[in-house]
């Protein structure tokens, strides 16, 4: 597997300019003859589709939702980082770069992170020009706020709905190109495989989710913008439809899968209330500015939370991390909450929750101030739980949220399959082992608006014959394989609904490969996972047929891929015998429970190569080089 990242020579602040100055171009007339397939139309996919079409390429865009506007980017709340330095507090490209490298615990590629920081300002310019209604100061200038673990104000926002507004901006740009006839939009279509013709990717196979028709779509380049895979845990903050299928099909066709075990568990989510629960809802990280996190000191506590005196409350974040208190980074806060619940101190009907209490903040700051800061979040919480945070403490628990891992890509966002690109959350590139708040949207839009359109151009310009040959045997073969797999799924006719198996998978995975990981447990999980997979393939019950709308079949196909992904995640977590960012190995922590990195052995990206159904996947490494910044240990005590 060729893992040459193809990083251009030159000083880090010049690399992207040098690359752009030297890449190959496609003439305006030729572009109209070239076709790009883009799978997924969230922030990354919609911005890439609109931009490529605007340049004159023919674009085929696919999404499984009924409209591009529904992609899960829409749920991002907090904001988007950019080094505008409007607040004059000394921000710079270098500082955003440094914060992102450190936040990722030195497991990201320097050149990519620098480019991301550099492009951040252009994203804001672009979004404003599209009419994204960012919050404004009284003078009418753009407002900024500060976000988790950062010392400058660089986060731009639209209330608590930044993702929605940025996505609608990209969706508007996409809509304009659809109207102009340059993008053919396929909604309610799910990609089920990619077509590889003697080396390069030359198209995809997709199923029309309404008619059930499965067919191939030839393309001269293929772009995956299919998001993250946190739904592998069953309960997560992801939308119901979020899945790994497109990325997993690419992996099985030869694309390297990088750092699959790097998944972020967000500390402040509304906990599950029972077995019926289908997903979890995030509560903004900003609540930790005023909310005090605690559990009762005694596991036998029976009093109502408001009746428990201060002395019998265990403010575990404040006690353990006096310097940062409740504002420790996401990975640290999540680990601490899990730890107290493991000790039996958790609250609520399931015992898997901790209190986040605003009584002190209300007393000190007054109801009005708290209302203006968090009024809408309190309302959202009450809507879901039926309990008012004005009267009783919120109950929160960590939930799977974001996947830093994903398809390996080089500096041009190309996977190990030529002509197959991956952008946004579905690639691995910029966040190392822990993503900072307000960085996800920045990466999606940098990839889609500013990087990919140039790198796809360069790729197409370099091909001797860039055109896909739709008569190539690989098209019919791949279509047949997809059909066969659908038939196999439908023929199982067992007695267990897919959801039960998915739930079981999630319970196992969150325990062994969630907030903390341990060698023996991972080994045990690697023994147990094949049995769950076996149960799925022998006893699942799907019903219906493949020739019409069948949501049960869609779901089963996604879970089948999650079952395989889970195994790779555990394998990756087991081999990475160090702690870094969100990947805490119990064996590698200080006496105080802080993660201990092993830069000697693991300062690399782990890239997995599929080796067939009967063989174990192969692990390769892309060594990370630190020239701008030397890795340091993180401490928050």
């Amino acid at each position: 597997m060729n893992l040459d990242a193809r990083i251009p020579d030159g000083p880090i602040e010049e690399k992207w300019r040098i690359w752009k100055d030297n890449h190959e171009l496609v003439g305006p007339r030729a572009r109209g003859q070239l076709e790009v397939a883009i799978v997924g139309t969230g922030l990354a996919g919609a911005s890439a589709a609109a931009t490529l079409a605007g340049m004159g390429y023919k674009v085929q865009a696919f999404c499984f939702q009924d409209s591009a506007r529904r992609a899960h980017s829409i749920a991002a709340q907090g904001g988007i980082n950019a080094t505008k330095d409007y607040s004059n507090d000394g921000d710079s490209v270098h500082r955003l770069f440094a914060d992102t490298m450190k936040g990722g615990d030195f497991r990201a590629r320097e050149a990519n992170v620098w480019r991301l920081a550099e492009l951040s300002t252009e994203i804001i310019d672009q979004a404003v020009a599209q009419g994204v209604p960012f919050n404004r100061e009284y003078g009418g200038l753009l407002a900024t706020r500060s976000f988790g673990g950062v010392l400058v104000e660089r986060t731009f926002y639209v209330r608590g709905q930044t993702g929605q507004q940025l996505l609608l901006g990209a969706y508007g740009a996409l809509s304009r190109q659809i109207r102009a006839g340059r993008v053919e939009m396929h909604t309610r279509h799910e990609m089920l495989d990619i077509v590889v013709c003697d080396g390069p990717a030359r198209g995809i196979v997709a199923r029309d989710l309404v008619t059930g028709e499965t067919r191939s779509y030839p393309a001269d380049a293929v772009v995956l913008a299919t998001g993250g895979y946190s739904n592998v845990y069953f309960l997560s903050t992801n939308a119901m439809g979020c899945n790994v299928t497109a990325a997993w099909r690419a992996y099985k066709r030869g694309a390297g899968m990088a750092n699959p075990c790097f998944t972020q568990i967000h500390p402040t989510c509304i906990p599950a209330t029972g077995e019926h629960q289908a997903k979890l809802t995030l509560m903004s990280e900003s609540l930790r500015n005023d909310g005090r996190v605690w559990v009762p000191r005694s596991a036998d506590e029976t009093r109502e939370p408001n009746d428990i005196p201060d002395g019998d409350r265990y403010y575990f974040l404040e006690e353990t991390y006096p310097r940062y208190g409740n504002l420790v980074p996401r990975d640290v806060a999540s680990r601490a909450a899990k730890h107290v619940c493991d000790q039996g101190l958790g609250v609520g009907p399931t015992g898997r929750a901790v209190f986040m209490d605003f009584q002190d903040a209300i007393a000190v700051r007054g109801e009005r101030e708290i209302e203006s800061r968090y009024g809408n979040l309190f309302e959202l919480y009450e809507q879901i739980t039926g309990e008012s945070p004005w009267r009783v403490p919120m109950r929160i628990y960590p939930a799977p949220h974001y996947a830093m891992g994903g398809l390996w890509v080089d500096y041009t966002l190309q996977t190990t399959i030529p002509g197959l690109f991956a952008i946004g959350e579905c690639n691995f590139s910029d966040h190392g082992s822990n993503r900072l708040g307000a960085s996800a949207m920045m990466q999606c839009l940098a990839d889609g608006y500013f990087v990919l359109p140039h790198t796809v151009t360069d790729y197409l310009a370099r091909q001797e014959d860039p055109h896909a040959d739709p008569t190539h045997a690989a098209f019919a073969e791949t279509e047949a394989e997809v059909e066969k797999r659908l038939e196999r799924l439908l023929s199982i006719d067992g007695s267990t609904p897919t959801r039960h198996i998915h739930h079981e998978l999630g319970k196992l995975l969150i325990d062994v490969c969630g907030i903390s990981r341990e060698g023996v447990k991972l080994e045990r999980a690697l023994d147990e996972l094949p049995a769950i997979r076996e149960q799925f393939w022998s006893d699942v019950k799907i019903g219906g047929d493949a020739r019409s709308l069948n949501q049960s079949l869609e779901y089963a196909g996604r879970v089948a891929d999650f079952l395989e992904l889970a195994e790779l995640m555990c394998r990756d977590a087991l081999v990475r015998d160090e702690s870094c960012g969100c990947h805490l190995r119990e064996e590698h922590q200080t006496a105080d429970g802080e993660p201990v990195r092993d830069d000697e052995r693991f300062a690399h990206v782990a890239v997995w190569e599929y080796a067939g159904p009967e063989s174990e996947p192969l692990r390769h490494a892309e060594q990370l080089e630190f020239k701008e910044m030397q890795p340091k240990a993180r401490s928050y005590r």
Binding site: D125, V128, P133, A239, P497, R499
Partner: protein, 258 residues
């Protein structure tokens, strides 16, 4: 809790549908309506029956996918909530609950509770954007926007495109949806170029899709999960009138969108 559900079942577009009754029992009060449907569907699958098809995705009220008419109300009981934010504790134990799709001529049923809302996408495609590509842009702070304008733009821009306004309207009008986009862009300096032709293009598309016109019932505002004000329809009408009178389209014989 126990409930009786009357659910609209329809195999596909253009075939007759009917209500089917289902009893569900031992439902937790904190279970959401859609989670109850997940459980019911598992039961139907095991019985070898076809599960009930319905749209949902984010399940936190922002993607706009979920779309059930519950006891005659789009998105059901409660104000400012979507179908996925309905919990069973909001119903009386033992109640009979009637569930239908969002009904409108412009929203044909695909199956059961799933309707085709692509007409809303096409209204957006007719003009709901500013005309910028991804080249270099002006410095955004060179163009200040007063916080009041920004606030009104945001109040309109938060539309999630669910179509509840259409389903609630006796005329099946899409004017709250269209007015929200017209207001969002019309309140910002970036939306000024093309402001008065955009509105004509979008209204034309709205009519072509078979949506009705507004006669001030106000049901749209009451059903809107984002509580968008009917004032946006006033703005739509105003801009449309100005557009038709003073900004005729294609003054020199046809300019295609770039």
């Amino acid at each position: 809790m126990n409930f009786t559900l009357r659910v609209w079942r329809q195999e596909q577009r253009d075939v007759p549908g009917r209500f089917e009754r289902y009893s569900v029992s031992d439902i937790e009060p904190d279970e959401s309506l859609l989670e109850m449907f997940d459980g019911l569907n598992d039961r139907l699958i095991l019985l070898g029956e076809r599960p009930i098809a319905f749209d949902s995705d984010c399940r936190e009220g922002i993607c706009g996918a979920c779309s059930m008419t519950i006891d005659g109300r789009p998105h059901g009981p409660g104000h400012g909530t979507t179908t996925c934010q309905i919990y069973m504790r909001q119903f009386d134990d033992g109640a009979t609950i009637t569930i239908e799709p969002f009904r409108a001529a412009a929203f044909p049923v695909i199956r059961d509770l799933i309707v085709d809302r692509s007409a809303l996408d096409r209204i957006q495609q007719a003009g709901g954007y500013t005309g910028v590509g991804a080249g270099p842009k002006p410095e955004p702070n060179a163009n200040p926007v007063s916080p009041e304008d920004a606030e009104e733009a945001i109040d309109a821009a938060i539309c999630i495109g669910c179509g509840a306004c259409v389903a609630a309207c006796p005329n099946s009008a899409a004017m709250l949806f269209t007015g929200a986009k017209v207001t969002h862009l019309g309140r910002l300096p970036q939306g000024q170029p093309g402001r008065f032709t955009r509105v004509q293009d979008m209204v034309d598309q709205m009519d072509a899709e078979g949506f009705g016109g507004c006669t001030n019932f106000g049901e749209c505002e009451a059903a809107c999960p984002k509580e968008i004000s009917i004032r946006v329809i006033g703005r739509l009408n105003r801009d449309y009138l100005i557009g038709v009178l003073y900004h005729p389209r294609n003054p020199r014989g046809g300019m295609k969108p770039q």
